[in-house]
Amino acid sequence: MAGHSLTINNQTYNVEIKGETTLLWVLREHLGLTGTKYGCGIALCGSCTVHLDGKPVRSCTLPLSALKKDQKITTIEGLSQNGDHEIQKAWIEAQAPQCGYCQTGQIMQAAALLTENPNPTREEIKTYMNGNLCRCGTYLRILRAIEIAAEKIAANT
């Protein structure tokens, strides 16, 4: 067992966990950051999406040993101070979630999309969000929420 130093939501965590353990379980079961969800374990559903240096990654297939100390991890808990990221506000406006389980992963993916591409077309949204599954069938509202957020961001800049 080796010590690892992680920077998560601008906080440093030192953990003694086997290097092959995936970031997902470290976040959820060792650090109590349960907003990141387990859905499939093979990077096919997107429920476990977090940002690594601002890019969306699937934490369920990312072993601790692959992370470097200076890499910044952002989880849903660190996306905004009070859940008031434009994306989160738009998500409420669109009344997007149903069961809500996949939604934190969806939000992390969508936040990364708007950072990369603040004014995406519908097709660009669909392509970027295609790795995030929702079983309740909220896709149309997710799409709408992303469009609302993009409009707000455009209006504010």
Binding site: L44, C99, T104, K126, Y139, I142
Partner: protein, 722 residues
């Protein structure tokens, strides 16, 4: 205790503390109490129904007796209560009620038996009158208390938005301010229809309130059972194999027990359980298990080769369990001018709720009590069957209901709760978090059954259907028979039966249950007949629905919305379907195109019109219809669970694909027909519309019928090339 609390004692303890108004027809009670835990203990011990807690700082906490799996019960049921209580919604918060079915159950599942069960789209239906009654009674207690306080007749008081007004005396008081002055009337009236609020004064019913659970879901702070962490908590996993019901023989027990962190191995009839200190240890140990599996009833079963046998069962001269028998079907068929005989088929589908099954269970040190944290759709078994499983009294089991990361019927089964209990018992009093991996969830699922359906229709020379016979062959009783009724269609001779065949595969309700396959078969049959007689399928249904005005209204609405009959693009076609599910009447129309090279069907647009009675939260109804339709598209175009020699062939989202965003339609439009009838269910109304609407559009577009679900690209190509 509550009975013996005198008014004086009551008032003495109530200053500045929480106060519960319990409302039931028999035993109206109020309880004052300092701690919520204590109050919940009292509620559980006494025959009393507490639906609301008022605090003197003006907060109103309403209890939701239903599970919240995304269908919006956390908002819609309290909205019904708040409407009759005339509460100020800005002061309302909502909590799950204690899981005690004798108190919080509904008798809408079975008469004289109170059950807490969130399934079958029956929550609004099951609790509408209960919540109205309780809300009206809470308001009455408040008005009674104000009348006592002001020494004025109750009849002269009115309420508005969380305040009581004395119009004569020109004074008013908020519900919160009234808390220290609450008194219980000698008798609590039972209210009936004329006593309830006039719908024209509604502020919540029929008027959208933002869903109360959404802000936390967006922040990531919602607690699902899988998020629970308790002191000293251990982790558990089970290896269940790929063949349902096979028994394990573990070949390397000592090797597994020697692994770091492995505390215990637990044998189940169908699995080996492992308890470890950390989740990663559990998952690692699970992979190293060397197990030999016994024979099981499903050995030898191949889900793609069974239809020949099912066809023979359908052709047998004997009759199965008769479900519908109106008129005389045999005479209708014998005297038919034209007879249609068509087989429809469907493969197994899996629930794929996004939160894999899990439960956190703690068994008391003496084994005589248990506490559970679980996302469950509840059920007929009291306390999820744990008292029986552990052989302990019901009152010694506490269920802490959590939000559900999807259910769709799977979480109305208690297998995972009992597994967690079986593990926790072995390490009591340390709690155990049992997690199913996605692979476990797929392979040891409980699927919507595979069926073959033989439909025979008789018509006269004009194409009027004179007889309609439906035989479903499959396993699971109502799981395959639900939705086989077609009361709404004006057909003089109707017959429906179920013929049982069992393959040893685990089965369960799956969103809309038998309605998915049955309505697919019925509605496609209608279109095949209409097409044969060169009649427009919408007009054809108009005639069939002539004596069902509410049904007809949904059809006409959907025709209007979809601009039916206006196709201009020859590469696209529309299909229509009508059905009833959970008392809700719905017509759906979809517009599709087909890639004739790849066999891929694209659904471009979907319209639905429904009559679900009184609508509590309109936008939520729309969300349910949208979600149901998207889940329908997913199951119809992609989902196929197959079995070879009893072994489940799929294991995760790589080989069991569900709908992704790239394949959603451009729009789903939903209209609700205005109605003052009893509210009915909408959570499952959208899903079964999809298969038939798509197949009917495909028939119109290509002239060829799709008769086997799902419509995989391979199957579509095969149909196109015949």
């Amino acid at each position: 205790m509550n009975k013996s609390v005198s008014r004086r004692e009551f008032l003495k303890t109530s200053g500045g503390v929480a106060l519960f108004i319990g409302v039931s027809g028999i035993l109206p009670q109020m309880i004052s109490c300092k701690s919520k835990k204590e109050v919940q203990g009292i509620i559980q011990k006494h025959p009393l129904t507490a639906w609301v807690q008022l605090t003197d700082d003006g907060r109103v906490i309403i209890y939701n007796p239903a599970a919240e799996l995304g269908q919006g019960s956390m908002t819609s049921l309290p909205a019904i209560f708040a409407e009759e209580m005339d509460a100020d919604w800005s002061t309302v918060s909502v909590e799950f009620s204690p899981q005690v079915s004798a108190i919080y159950g509904s008798d809408k599942w079975s008469p004289n038996n109170k059950v807490m069960l969130t399934a079958g789209s029956r929550i609004t239906y099951g609790y509408y009158s209960i919540m109205r009654q309780a809300g009206a009674q809470a308001r009455y207690i408040l008005m009674h208390s104000a009348a006592e306080l002001w020494k004025t007749p109750l009849e002269g008081l009115s309420t508005a938005n969380g305040r009581i007004m004395d119009n004569q005396g020109g004074r008013s008081i908020s519900y919160g301010e009234l808390v220290p002055h609450l008194t219980m009337p000698d008798k609590l009236p039972e209210f009936s229809e004329p006593d309830f609020k006039d719908p024209k004064n509604y502020r919540f019913i029929g008027i959208d309130q933002p869903r109360v659970d959404i802000p936390e879901k967006v922040k990531g702070t919602t607690r699902f059972a899988i998020d629970i962490k308790l002191p000293e908590m251990l982790f558990g996993v089970l290896e269940r194999g790929k063949v349902h019901g096979a028994s394990p023989k573990l070949n390397n027990e000592s090797e597994i027990l020697a692994l770091e962190g492995v505390l215990k191995l637990v044998r189940f009839d169908y699995a080996i359980g492992i308890i470890t200190e950390t989740i990663e240890q559990a998952l690692a140990a699970k992979k190293l298990l060397d197990i030999t599996w016994s024979e099981a009833p499903s050995n030898g079963f191949n889900s793609q080769e069974c239809f020949k046998k099912y066809g023979e069962i359908a052709a047998d001269k004997s009759t199965g369990k008769v479900i519908v028998n109106e008129g005389d079907i045999s005479i209708a068929i014998k005297s038919a001018d034209k007879k249609f005989t068509v087989d429809f088929k469907n493969d197994y589908v899996y629930h794929a709720q996004m939160e894999p099954l899990n439960a956190v269970v703690q068994v008391g040190k003496d084994g005589n009590s248990a506490e559970v944290w679980v996302g469950s759709q509840q059920g007929f078994d009291s306390k999820l069957g744990i008292p029986k499983y552990l052989g302990i009294p019901e009152e010694n089991v506490k269920i802490n209901l959590q939000y559900l990361g999807g259910g769709f019927g799977r979480r109305s089964m208690t297998d995972f709760v009992l597994e967690g209990t079986g593990l926790a018992r072995e390490v009591a009093p340390r709690p155990v978090k049992l997690i199913w991996t996605r692979e476990d969830d797929v392979r040891y699922g409980a699927y919507r059954p595979l069926t073959l359906q033989r439909l025979i229709a008789a018509t006269d020379s004009q194409g009027n259907i004179t007889g309609f016979s439906h035989c479903v062959v499959g396993d699971g009783g109502n799981l395959v028979a639900s939705g086989i009724q077609i009361d709404y269609y004006d057909i003089p001779n109707k017959f429906a039966e179920w013929r049982e065949v069992s393959e040893g595969i685990r089965l369960k309700h799956w969103r809309s249950v038998g309605h998915g396959p049955n309505k697919f078969a019925i509605e496609c049959m209608i279109d095949e007949i209409a097409t044969y007689f060169r009649k427009d399928p919408a007009d054809f249904r108009k005639k069939l629905l002539a004596k069902s005005p509410r049904a007809l209204a949904t059809l006409e609405k959907a025709i209007e919305m979809s601009d039916w009959g206006s196709e201009t693009d020859s590469n696209r076609a529309k299909g229509i379907a009508f059905l009833e599910r959970s008392g809700t009447l719905s017509t759906g129309v979809c517009e599709i195109s087909v890639n004739r090279t790849t066999g891929k069907i694209n659904v471009h647009k979907f319209w639905s019109a429904s009559d679900a009675g009184i609508i509590i939260q309109p936008d939520n109804v729309k969300a349910q219809m949208e979600g149901g339709i998207l889940m329908g598209i997913s199951s119809v175009l992609k989902e196929q669970l197959t079995i070879v020699n009893g072994q489940i062939q799929q294991s995760n989202f790589d080989d069991y694909e569900i709908l992704r965003m790239a394949d959603i339609p451009d729009s789903i439009e939903t209209e609700i027909i205005e109605s003052r009838e009893t509210p009915r269910g909408v959570g499952e109304s959208g899903t079964p519309l999809v298969a038939c609407a798509i197949a009917n559009a495909f028939l119109k577009l290509t002239g060829k019928p799709l008769r086997h679900l799902p419509f995989t690209q391979e199957r579509v190509l095969k149909v196109l090339n015949t």
